[in-house]
Amino acid sequence: MQLQKGMFRKEYFWKWLISVCGIIMIVITIVIGAFLIYKGSYTFTGFGHSIGEFLFSAKFSPNDSYSGSNGSVGAAVFIVGSVLTCGLALLISTPFSLAAAIFMTEISPKFGNKFFQPAVEIFVGIPSIVYGWTGLTVLVPAVRDVFNLPYGNSVFTAALVLALMIFPSITSVATDAIRGVPSSYRDAAYGMGSTRWQIIKNVVLPAASSGIMTGIILGLARAFGEALAVAMVIGKTRVFPKNIFSSTSTLTSVIASNMGNTFDGTEYNSALWSMALLLFIISLLFIFLIHFISAKGEKKANGKD
């Protein structure tokens, strides 16, 4: 009986401990969110700037002071910079990712399974700083020479670096999505005399569309949150880019290069925190979008069956 008592005590102890581990996950998330909201909202509550100014004004010159709102905290340039670079990166990366994913699953599944997919998946893990550094030493001079520009740091260069970086992420999710399409779909279409390209275009891609969208959004989220690789190649000018070959700044690059020069609690510091809060909100939005799309995809799949 003595032994059994000890046994049950152990049982409860471990159950308690494991539950605490689960709860800690919630605590960490809430603490991070709360800190971000607390620090990020101070620009608006403590310094009296309006959210409209933060989102839509292009004038960014906050002061290093602890009180009063003498400076301006418009982050529109950085928001536009982020959206433009990531959008361009996605435009470059998506067609190639899709083509690679289709090649791996539909055209040469044997080679794709054995060699291509492992190679792509390994590249998901390459540190972004390596992409950034290679972009800085190789792409920046190359873009400068090819397009005859005074400087190679530009939105286009940053988009190229990001595109290369998110290509493996999108490809591996899209591959899984396409592989998940039941082969009966393909067999039916083949039976009707379709060519392979017709099947890919009209059957496989539509059936895998929600999975592919998830991959694209995951890639977009990765690109949006990337800081240092972008900061290395985009230049540091704080004006709207005239075209894709001029340099600008993004939300992440501004935080990364300026946070170290500010003091905690100043207007400048708070403005940077507000941008971090904005990044947090955007990443939540991406999660919501993924859930929405996959729920829709499931509904469609269930409705058809």
Binding site: F35, F96, I122, P127
Partner: protein, 292 residues
């Protein structure tokens, strides 16, 4: 007839296009990897392979030490949370909340985690930049990865493992500890290695937590001294931060070569880790497929 011909032609053209695109990207990735590695080592001097301020081995040591520290923190917590979700949690509001939280954590931009770490572990504790704060920040990034792999691994175990163990009179925890965890250990290890790989390359989260300087003395083994290599409360620059530093500061004349070498070492580390994961998971598949 014309239509069929056209469809066939289109099919041929698209097949060629797919071959070209896929081949192009495969070659691009391989060229990228070999370029980084070859470039790094071709510009290296013997001085760079020393434990001095001109070498990169101190940074390599910092990187490995920081990742180990962060794994020490995130492994028990992540594995615990994964097991809780898979075995103990009842379906309901709490479990859902935890899952949403994990998803939120995994999608946090690393610069945001870095800022949070700067505020919570540096400013609020009043410490200087240190390795331990960096390890905490990296743990936040590793946690969701370890938790989800553990959760998936435990969930994937067939129910008769549980029935068999409980039928012999084992309690729930005994079943979990003696049967479930050992049988999915290889998969959990895969997750941990992937998390470590992520830690190696992390830079943005460390920018304002672990500091950009390394000042250690390899003959000093007093762990409370800020010069001791093993003291976790000293500033420690990792390899990836070293690359960033040579972009922003570029103090040394050969900063470019040093950064090239650092990139090459990082690349090799990550490739090594990922290939190890491949080999392990292949073994698991073989065993599950009836090889043993």
């Amino acid at each position: 007839m014309e239509k069929i011909k056209q469809a066939k032609l289109e099919d041929k053209i698209m097949t060629i296009v797919f071959y070209i695109v896929a081949g192009f990207f495969l070659i691009l990735l391989l060229v990228f990897a070999s370029y980084v590695i070859i470039k790094g080592f071709s510009g290296a001097t013997s001085q760079m392979f020393t434990f001095t301020s001109k070498g990169v081995l101190n940074q390599l040591f910092n990187t490995i030490y920081l990742v180990l520290l962060s794994l020490l923190l995130s492994c028990p917590l992540g594995i615990g949370a994964g097991i809780y979700l898979a075995e103990y949690a009842k379906r309901g509001k709490l479990t859902e909340t935890i899952q949403i939280c994990i998803e939120t954590l995994s999608s946090l931009p690393s610069i945001v985690v870095g800022l949070f770490g700067y505020l919570a572990f540096i400013l609020m504790t009043g410490m200087k930049w240190n390795l331990f704060a960096g390890a905490l920040a990296v743990s936040i990034l590793c946690l969701p990865l370890i938790t989800t792999t553990t959760f998936d691994a435990v969930r994937a175990l067939p129910d008769y493992y549980r029935y068999g163990s409980m039928g012999l009179g084992a309690t729930k925890w005994q079943t979990t500890y003696h049967v479930l965890i050992p049988s999915c250990m290889p998969r959990i290890v895969t997750g941990i290695i992937l998390a470590a790989g992520r830690g190696f390359g992390e830079a943005a989260a460390l920018l304002y937590t672990s500091g950009m300087s390394t000042d250690i003395n390899w003959s000093n083994w007093n762990i409370t001294s800020p010069l001791c290599p093993l003291n976790p409360f000293r500033p420690g620059e990792t390899l990836s931060l070293h690359i960033w530093a040579s972009f922003t500061e570029a103090t040394a004349a050969n900063a470019k070569d040093i950064a090239n070498l650092s990139s090459a070492i990082l690349m090799i580390l990550v490739l090594m880790f990922n290939i190890t994961v491949r080999i392990i998971s292949k073994r698991i598949d073989e065993r599950a497929g009836g090889g043993k």
